[in-house]
Symmetry: C2
Subunit: 156 residues, 2 copies
Amino acid sequence: MVKLKSLHATPEAVESAFYDALEAGDVDALMEVWSEDEEIVCIHPGGPRLVGHQAIAGSWREILSNGPITVRPSDPRIMQGSLVSVHSVLSRVMAFVKTEGLPPGAQQTGQAMSINMLVTHVFFKGAQGWRMVLHHASVTPQDTETIPSPASGTLH
Amino acid sequence: MVKLKSLHATPEAVESAFYDALEAGDVDALMEVWSEDEEIVCIHPGGPRLVGHQAIAGSWREILSNGPITVRPSDPRIMQGSLVSVHSVLSRVMAFVKTEGLPPGAQQTGQAMSINMLVTHVFFKGAQGWRMVLHHASVTPQDTETIPSPASGTLH
């Protein structure tokens, strides 16, 4: 039986499905939010531009192999047309991280860290409802901060 | 006499006007390419999100106070609708730079440097023709390189 992709009635529903898939660590669900257009574009912070389903799915598979990612999106700025919606979103990414290659302020292994990103999302409306066609994420270094891990081990 | 803003017939014409204004160091011309919508969004590499004409014009005025910027855009990926056009562009920024705060690979004062950026542009078509509504630029650090200044002074 062929599983049909979800039909999203609004751009906001697509964006929610995107963040839900990240939090579930589910690459298949994550790729379902994208348009079937092969020219879709995804830019991870500091990374190259990825074009097309195969490259984009591969990158998310690698990222999510480290575990799910919780993102707290906030303060959306939305420019909406009848067939397009452009979202600029502040995204606080919550993650447990290793010590190598960390931004200043996060020194301990296993520390919970949040990184503030700026994300541009573009959604097009087509025959399959609203779908994502572009994800461009970049870090805003000055907002990088470390928060204490709620489950951090303290040596006694 | 009121000077009328240019009417751009295509998104490509707006983008060309944007890069021409950067190369001319002309903030007024640069701001003419933007939509009159107050929710326009501009993100410079590593910077905060700027919303609205005043904040955006102020940022470009500061950037261009150091002199014009030559950008060589290449390899555009374009997703086009009837009233929207989304461009993902590789942008090589050519600049003369000072020594403070440089990326690795550029050590000398007055050295010509190029930095590769990934830029997302969104253009909407309205009563004033095509206009920019979003500019999101981020550096791809692994592509940062230094090129020799063609006019560098050599001590004899």
